[in-house]
């Protein structure tokens, strides 16, 4: 066996991934089931000259990491349910100002206080549309402890590279379960830093509409003296009410992820080549779906699994292609059909899409999925 094999929690893997990706600032507020991430960061960050702060509330935590990010630090916050709801205004600010930051959401049963120690996948649409106004967002969805580590690194890299907030969408099962992992060494990990300006300060345009669509970002305190505002702004960062300026900046913002879609969209396919029944599942539910595929295959039913890892933006092209090859699609989710809406939108012209929804605090077991498959066949 490998001497590096460990039995660790998803939340720990997430914290260790953040540190491996270079996160050196964390602000948070205690909330189940994400608190372990804050606890680990409070212990580890000061050892690495990093900073941890427990803020007075969730709104302050989100605001605090944006402030820290502007000084050039890689930043993280983590929360769940009610906490994520409270953070929404500041998440919108990060979208608007294009400030890199990562938000871990260990999803619990909602709405409201709901079920603090119960698993759910009810925040999928909130991740997409939680803050007001149109905005692009990236959300990644791990389904194992190992992926909690690797996808948090990816999230930090995406945040830095594309100047955007990124969600890591755990669920209580993935966050709290312990699983055997062998995590990669530091030298095997790709770490991306944000692009910083090389021009003299008087030429610096923090929201320049250049070819890359991602303007360089100066650290506060390095002489660039730039202005950051949540108001619509021009290339220089100052407020503008000019419709042409607003339009041009907004179009850049929305085009940014489209341009880098090939890098941002992550997914995994299992047994899809000859599949007649396609399961579309993510997070901990994808594990049940995978088990269901194995069971169904032994029964001679040609089932396959499409697991979106990037859920926002949604990997629609590849799914659409798959939809054209299968007879039926089933979307099991621990909600009343959130990603289902997206799958249906993408696939309904190609094939029949049905959902298997469960919101009772318990996970969807493999035999519930196999039963659903047999029912629709």
């Amino acid at each position: 066996m490998s001497p590096k094999a460990r039995l660790i929690q998803g939340n720990r893997a997430c914290a260790e991934g953040a540190i491996a990706a270079g996160v050196r600032f964390f602000a948070g507020y205690p909330i189940t089931p994400s608190t372990e991430i804050a606890e680990i960061m409070s212990e580890e960050l000061p050892k690495l000259s990093g900073k941890f702060i427990q803020m007075e509330d969730e709104i302050a935590s989100m605001s605090c990491i944006i402030g820290a990010s502007l000084t050039g630090k890689k930043v993280l916050t983590a929360s769940s349910g009610p906490g994520i709801s409270l953070k929404q205004e500041a998440i919108g600010y990060a979208c608007m100002t294009e400030t890199p930051c990562v938000i871990v959401n260990v999803q619990r049963l909602g709405p409201s206080t709901g079920g603090p120690t119960s698993s759910a996948q009810g925040d999928i649409m909130q991740a997409r549309w939680g803050t007001h106004g149109d905005h692009p967002i990236i959300a990644l969805c791990p389904s194992s402890v190992y992926e909690c580590f690797t996808l948090t690194i990816t999230a930090v890299n995406f945040a830095e590279k594309y100047r955007t907030p990124v969600y890591v969408m755990l669920d209580e099962i993935v966050g709290h379960m312990r699983e055997k992992v062998v995590l990669p060494d530091a030298d095997e990990i790709e770490v991306i830093d944000r692009k910083r300006p090389t021009c003299p300060p008087e030429e610096y345009k923090p929201y320049q509409i250049g070819e890359s669509l991602i303007p360089a970002m100066a650290d506060y305190g390095t002489g660039y003296k730039w202005h950051v505002t949540g108001l619509f702004h021009d290339e220089t960062g100052f407020p503008s009410g000019n419709p042409q300026v607003i339009d041009a900046q907004f179009k850049r913002l929305m085009a940014k992820f489209k341009k880098y879609e090939d890098e941002i969209l992550l997914w995994e396919e299992t047994e899809t080549k000859d599949a007649e029944i396609l399961l579309v599942a993510y997070g901990s539910t994808a594990r049940s779906a995978l088990e269901a595929v194995n069971i169904l295959r032994t029964e001679g039913i040609k089932a396959g699994l499409f697991r979106p890892i990037t859920i926002w933006p949604f990997p629609e092209k590849v799914l659409k292609t798959l939809a054209g090859k299968v007879k039926k699609i089933i979307v099991p989710e621990m909600n009343y059909g959130q990603l289902f809406l997206e799958v249906e939108r993408v696939c309904k012209d190609k094939t029949q899409v049905s959902g298997l929804f469960k919101v009772d605090s318990l996970p969807i077991a493999p035999d519930e999925i196999t039963a659903k498959v047999r029912e629709v066949l």
């Binding site: 050892k47 900073k51 302050a60 605001s63 605090c64 402030g67 990010s69 502007l70 305190g221 950051v228």
Partner: protein, 273 residues
Amino acid sequence: MRPELQKLFRMEKLPHIWCPGCGHGIITRAIGEAIAESDINLDKTVIVSGIGCSSRAPGYMNFDTLHTLHGRALAFATGVKLANPELNVFVITGDGDATAIGGNHFIHAARRNIDLNVILFNNNIYGMTGGQYSPLTPTGKMASTSPYGNPENNFDIPALAIAAGASYVARGTAFHDKLLIECIKEGIKNKGFSLIEAMSMCPTSYGRRNKMGNAADMLNDLKRIAVNINVAKKLPPEKLEGKFLIGKLHHKPYPEFTQEYDKLILKLQKGAE
């Protein structure tokens, strides 16, 4: 504006958006004067604000400037300062911004004694949204949401800040601008949470509804009602009825948050050797 001061402002962004007679311009200039007279690195100075009339000030100031969300300036500023304690961080906020929607951040930033220089522009009203009553609108005063007179009590900001743990607390006014500059300078020197309440005036939304005359009348009111704390010490209580104190109201230095955190880092790293 004298040249030393001009380089602290984004002259091309002027004139400002504030109404004629607004006290905010005087206070913003006072901040500039205080910075000009203090020995601080301008490249390493960040000015953070929330939302409201006062919070537009950083846009005119030639530093790294951060115009944030309503009420949240102190939370953003805490992130800036803790992430890089080398930076001098100023927070410009208003009465509604700091004490209503941002009240929780206000008391907690003071409690941490984090090294922020907070200048709270108090015009007793929500000016930008058209004159609704704030936690600093005196009882009985008229506002667009208190058409029968404000039924609520108002905060005493210095008392709140002192109770919460601010290590330097002072008050100046748009009339007493020299004193205000001195207070801000002392606040900059204080290693910890410094709160300077700057009494402003809003002829458009507050003065008009309360029949307080024009801007000059309101400025004269500030002159008439304010009593320097050094003078007040010699006055009997009845002479202070209906007045407010100005000057340095509290200065009690004690360990500052980001310095203490840096000590923790040093300790952990020594322990690891």
